[in-house]
């Protein structure tokens, strides 16, 4: 039984210069606890694919299943629950600027209705896991890029998601911070959470040595168990 199942998914944008196919008949499955790298040049359609997984946008054709359920047929309530099971990490961090690091992580728990007591217990725990215990009271502007991304990871982790979806998480980071983030993601995966890592950085993929799905012009051109970045 797969956790995620893309079935013949296409996304076509109608632009001024005519229809633009961004995803072209994409099909794949990801099992629980898997680590998958999604690679491809900039503009290959990686973000579009991930955004259709969380129903931020709807595919033009095909279906996306999460835990056997069609995510694009979900009611509002189920969609909220789905998004709590998927921890998203973005290139631009997407932290709430008027909340502190602690509150940003806590927000994901408040959304899910956890008690204040549980929040006070869990949030420092997870922030410790990403190594930022001393920066809990800082606002995002008072954090470096690498620290922001680690808080974003803590936020993604706090809901104990089934999968972490990271879209170019190292895009705004220097090499050292990038490696820290990648190591963190690998560690999270080893603790049992599935991970999808979208990136266009070769070195990263080649060292991870896990499954790689290669995307080019919206099409899957390779899907290998222990892949390398070959494009």
């Amino acid at each position: 039984m797969s956790l995620i199942h893309f079935k013949n998914v296409s996304k076509i944008y109608n632009t001024v210069v005519g229809p633009l196919t961004v995803l072209d008949n994409v099909s794949f499955e990801i099992g629980a606890g898997e680590f998958v790298s999604l690679v491809g040049k900039s503009g290959a359609g990686k973000s579009t694919l991930l955004r259709s997984l969380i129903a931020e946008l709807a595919p033009s054709k095909g279906k996306v299943f999460f835990d056997e359920k069609d995510v694009h047929k979900m009611k509002h309530r189920d969609l909220c629950l789905l998004r709590r099971r998927i921890g998203m990490i973005f290139q631009d961090f997407k932290l709430l600027p008027d909340k502190t690091a602690f509150e940003n992580v806590a927000f994901a728990m408040e959304v899910a209705g956890y008690s204040d007591k549980k929040i006070r217990e869990d949030v420092p725990e997870v922030i410790k896991l990403v190594g930022l215990s001393d920066k809990m009271a800082n606002f995002p502007v008072q954090l470096s890029a690498g620290e922001k991304q680690r808080i974003a990871i803590a936020r993604a982790l706090i809901q104990r998601p089934d999968i972490i979806v990271a879209d170019e998480p190292t895009g705004n980071l220097d090499p050292i911070n990038s490696w820290d983030i990648i190591k963190l993601l690998v560690k999270i995966n080893e603790l049992g959470t599935a991970v999808i890592l979208a990136t266009h950085v070769k070195e990263i993929i080649n060292t991870i040595d896990k499954r790689v799905i290669s995307l080019d012009k919206g099409r899957i051109i390779r899907d290998e168990e222990r892949g390398k970045y070959l494009i």
Binding site: H76, R83, K94
Partner: protein, 302 residues
């Protein structure tokens, strides 16, 4: 449930404080709207009250020759009272007129002395006539001019009232149509401006709304703090307007009294202060809440 409510308020309060300038700008704009709203309200009631006071004051007095017997005057009074548009015709004997006159000028020794020197009562008996409507005075005036008892009169005291009367008639009609129209426009402007301010404030936070959505927050979980925030801004704006109005009314009171003698602005304002505050709060809160809901919903579609 209590936890959810507490969280909503905490979150609303946090964003209110941390987006301080945005909150202040919103409050100022909403205060202006509420100020216009209550100004319009106050002006409306004040002008309606003032017109009523003046209407009550406007009357026609006819003065009789001193040799007219009282019975004749009573007959004429009956005739006038029987006219459909007359609401009242009260008789003032020359004796009564004198008493009122001396009473009013008690403190003036010169007048008292003059009266003594004349020896007899120089004032005449009169009928004081009021009509149902201001606009009926023309008819009454014509009636008196053509009446058979005209040769018993010394004077008809309406010439100086005439202008006021006709002006008042126009004013009443003009005000009810004009002020309704003006009110509608001002209220609309106030609503649109406030709505746009709130919309812009929320537009500035659209990124955050989409982040919340992607964290799995339900629509009402996201809307809640914004709505509370909107209400908070509206309530603060309403209270500030009232605080500004108090010295303004105190300052305006003597000017208004001079302009419209029958109307006591102070008494009116302070007598209705809680009703007024109630309307302002309601206006502010509803405006804030509705604007927020509409504005946020636009960014909830992710």
């Amino acid at each position: 449930m209590i936890q959810i409510i507490r969280r909503l308020f905490r979150s609303a309060w946090q964003s209110f404080i941390r987006n301080g300038w945005l909150s202040i700008a919103t409050i100022v704009i909403m205060a202006l709207s509420i100020f216009i709203f209550s100004g319009v309200l106050l002006f409306n009631t004040a002008s309606r009250l003032a017109i009523k006071t003046i209407e009550d004051k406007v009357d026609i007095s006819i003065y009789f020759l001193s040799d007219t017997p009282e019975e004749d005057i009573f007959k004429i009074q009956e005739q006038i009272k029987s006219l459909t548009y007359v609401s009242d015709a009260s008789y003032v004997s020359s004796q009564q007129a004198l008493e009122t006159f001396t009473e009013l000028r008690q403190s003036d020794p010169l007048i008292a002395k003059a009266l003594q020197e004349i020896g007899e009562n120089p004032l005449s008996a009169s009928l004081n006539i009021k009509t149902n409507k201001v606009t009926d005075y023309d008819a009454l005036a014509t009636y008196i001019q053509e009446a058979p008892f005209k040769d018993k009169l010394i004077s008809v005291d309406f010439s100086q009232n005439q202008k006021v009367i006709s002006r008042l008639g126009n004013l009443t009609r003009g005000l009810s149509v004009g002020s309704l129209f003006l009110n509608l426009i001002l209220a609309l402007v106030a609503v649109v401006v406030s709505f746009n301010t709130i919309r812009m404030a929320i537009y500035a936070l659209r990124e955050e709304i989409s982040i919340m959505k992607l964290s799995g927050a339900s629509n009402w979980f996201i809307r809640g703090p914004f709505v509370i925030n909107g209400i908070l801004c509206g309530v603060i704006a309403a209270v500030s307007v009232l605080i500004i109005l108090i010295p303004l009314v105190l300052w305006l009171h003597p000017k208004v009294s001079a302009f419209m003698p029958g109307f006591n602005l102070n008494a009116y304002f302070f007598g209705h202060i809680f009703v007024m505050l109630g309307w302002q709060l309601l206006f502010g809160a509803v405006l804030g809440a509705v604007s927020s809901v509409l504005a946020v919903t636009k960014y909830l579609k992710v």
